[in-house]
């Protein structure tokens, strides 16, 4: 594999700047209908980029999944993927090399697909996931490289379609960012579960638009912050049609000087009556200098809705430790059980065993490092 020389600092800077700009300004504050499919404005414009690199993407999936590679991304991205699309290594398990700045992955079909992105140079990966009516597609995403990367995932769910995305990020890259743009037709179901055990900066930006009736969205995140790691989760869920449901649970365990921020906006349009939404942000702060910022927000323009939101900041609960002790469990074991339990509520949302195993191992090592320090 050839890695072309490039100024990695500037690329890293660019990705970081881009990702930060997105999360800070909410680059898609006024999404237009075109955004049903994607908004190319948040992507690095390939034509302006003179840098290029290659990186392997390993994917495995069931036979009914198609992963294609789209080169020559045109500016007219919304044009039903009218690119030069080729099948991506027809046999599951194959390693395919994609070139930075002029490639995208398109995932369609039903079943399960596992994408492992092993970046060796700062990368920006567009992924398009389309789930047809009544289909169910499960995507697991892991970054294994040690350099900055940004994945932009556009998900389009047709009526009654279901998409489950598991994202476990545990590497030592300075920045791992992912942006999701999700559009849901009626009665579709989108579920995202993410575990962030990154040692650098992790940014997840998730924008969901429920354009059809009775769509359901479930977002669950677990952040494990240590030393000087930073984690940002910014969500924007728009209920644009009646009867929608959304559940957000964001949990952080923070030590050292780590920082975690949750900013979540739930928007309920005037016609989105009977919306049922909840946002919960729970932070377990285990050191003096760790910080958690929590900004759940509601913007409601319908009158018959149920919207709950809440945030908690806590250390280990003394009453829970005492309760376990009165059952014969010593304090060290009690603390381990409580921390694991706190994490498990989120880890249990991961739907793929191999990823759950990685996440559990990450959680275990994290708590082990805490008890040693």
């Amino acid at each position: 594999m050839t890695v072309m020389t490039m100024n990695s600092t500037s690329t890293l800077g660019k990705i970081a700047e881009l990702a930060r700009a997105q999360v800070e300004t909410g680059a898609l504050a006024q999404p237009s209908e075109e955004w049903r499919y994607t908004d190319s404005s948040i992507w690095v414009n390939p034509s302006e980029s003179s840098e290029s690199s290659e990186f392997p993407v390993q994917w495995t999936g069931t036979e009914s999944i198609t992963v294609r590679r789209a080169s020559e991304i045109s500016d007219d991205f919304g044009d039903q993927f009218g690119w030069n699309v080729t099948e991506l290594a027809g046999n599951p398990g194959a390693v395919t090399t994609l070139a930075f700045a002029n490639d995208a992955l398109i995932v369609t079909g039903h079943g399960r697909v596992y994408l492992a992105v092993a970046a060796t140079a700062p990368t920006h990966i567009p992924v398009v996931i389309r789930v047809a009516e009544g289909d169910r597609l499960e995507v697991s995403l892991v970054s294994t490289g040690a350099v900055a990367g940004h994945t932009c995932i556009s998900v389009h769910l047709a009526a009654n379609a279901e998409c489950v995305i598991n994202e476990v990020q545990t590497n030592s890259a300075p920045l791992v960012s992912s942006t999701y743009l999700v559009v849901q037709a009626s009665k579709s179901h989108f579920q995202w579960a993410g575990v962030d055990g990154l040692t650098g900066v992790g940014i997840r930006t998730i924008r969901v638009r429920q354009i059809g009736d009775e769509a359901k969205t479930v977002l669950t995140a677990l952040n494990l912050g240590a030393k000087k790691s930073e984690n940002y989760i910014h969500t924007h869920v728009e209920h644009l049609a009646p009867g929608g449901e959304s559940r957000q649970l964001v949990k952080s365990v923070l030590t050292g000087q780590s920082v975690s921020e949750f900013k979540g906006l739930v928007y309920v349009a005037p016609r989105a009556q009977k919306t049922d939404s909840s946002q919960s942000n729970q932070n377990m702060i285990l050191s003096e200098q760790a910080r958690a910022l929590s900004r759940p927000q509601l913007s409601i323009f319908a009158d018959d809705v149920k919207c709950a939101h809440g945030a908690t900041m806590s250390q280990l609960d003394a009453d829970q430790i005492y309760y376990l002790q009165t059952r014969g469990v010593n304090p060290a074991d009690a603390k381990a059980v409580l921390m694991t339990g706190f994490a498990d509520e989120a880890v249990d949302q991961l739907s793929m065993d191999s990823l759950t195993a990685i996440a559990r191992e990450t959680v275990r090592q994290f708590f082990e490092s805490i008890s040693e320090s």
Binding site: D317, Y323, Q325, R327, N330, P331, G341, E345, D348
Partner: protein, 251 residues
């Protein structure tokens, strides 16, 4: 089995238990009644070693040991069980795993091998019948989303599994409707043995028509002001606590 002598205990700067003495022999059921704030729940916390309470007078002997020298988990392993007035919710921790952990902690302390998930499932399904609980309770997080009655039944389930020598039931009747009260009380009665002792803390005489005590104590202002048989509870129901409160402050 349990001898409390002239106990004085406080939380922060406030003395709650003020010269309490109480002896419970093996197999006896003692009811402890009293108005709000008389220190009943504090007594249960002090007996189980809650870290927020400090003891600055008196002694507690349990099975020949100095109870106050023991950590909460050591007391549990030595056979003391507290059914909480407000059972604590532990999100993310599976109820069955939690009870198995408690069960194994006791076994480990006795030098016995730990019971695996499979054998424990058999053991606990027997105990579930006692409290008329559904298997589904086992797969949920500890007490999370349980109704008041379900939480109390879960406490009794733990008691049935852990088989304590001394069970302290702190207002096990609060928040229960009449059917749940009957189920809980009947379960407790089935767990009565010639050796197992109970301290039943309650506001209401009603519970004592189900769980019939050997001795009734009335607690006022941090100590026991009167002890008697079952009829004392009936008298309190009729006359309230005022006459005892007056008597206590007159002393």
């Amino acid at each position: 089995m349990l001898q409390i002598n002239n106990l004085i205990a406080q939380i922060e700067d406030q003395t709650i238990i003020n010269g309490l003495s109480l002896t419970i022999n093996p197999g006896e059921v003692h009811a402890i009644m009293g108005p709000n704030g008389s220190g009943k729940s504090t007594l249960s916390k002090v007996l189980t070693g809650h870290p927020h309470y400090t003891v600055n007078g008196g002694s507690i002997q349990y099975d020949g040991q100095d109870l106050l020298e023991m950590d909460p988990e050591e007391r549990a392993i030595a056979g003391i069980f507290l059914a909480f007035q407000y059972p604590v919710e532990i999100p993310g921790v599976n109820n069955e795993s939690f009870i198995r952990m408690a069960y194994n902690a006791k076994r480990k302390a006795r030098g016995e091998s730990e019971v695996d998930a499979f054998d424990f499932a058999q053991l606990i399904s027997e105990k579930l019948k006692l409290v008329e609980m559904d298997e589904e309770f086992l797969s949920r997080s500890v007490n999370q989303g349980f109704s008041g009655g379900e939480k109390k039944r879960n406490e009794i389930l733990q008691m049935a599994v852990l088989e304590p020598k001394l069970a302290i039931l702190d207002e096990i009747d609060s928040g229960l409707d009449i059917d749940a009260l009957r189920i809980v009380a009947e379960a407790v009665n089935k767990l009565r043995t010639p050796d197992r002792s109970f301290a039943v803390i309650t506001h209401y005489q009603r519970l004592l028509t189900y769980i019939v005590p050997d001795v009734v104590h009335i607690m006022v202002e941090g100590r026991i002001v009167r002890s008697g048989g079952r009829e004392l509870a009936l008298e309190v129901e009729e006359r309230g606590y005022d006459w005892l409160t007056v008597a206590a402050s007159a002393e």
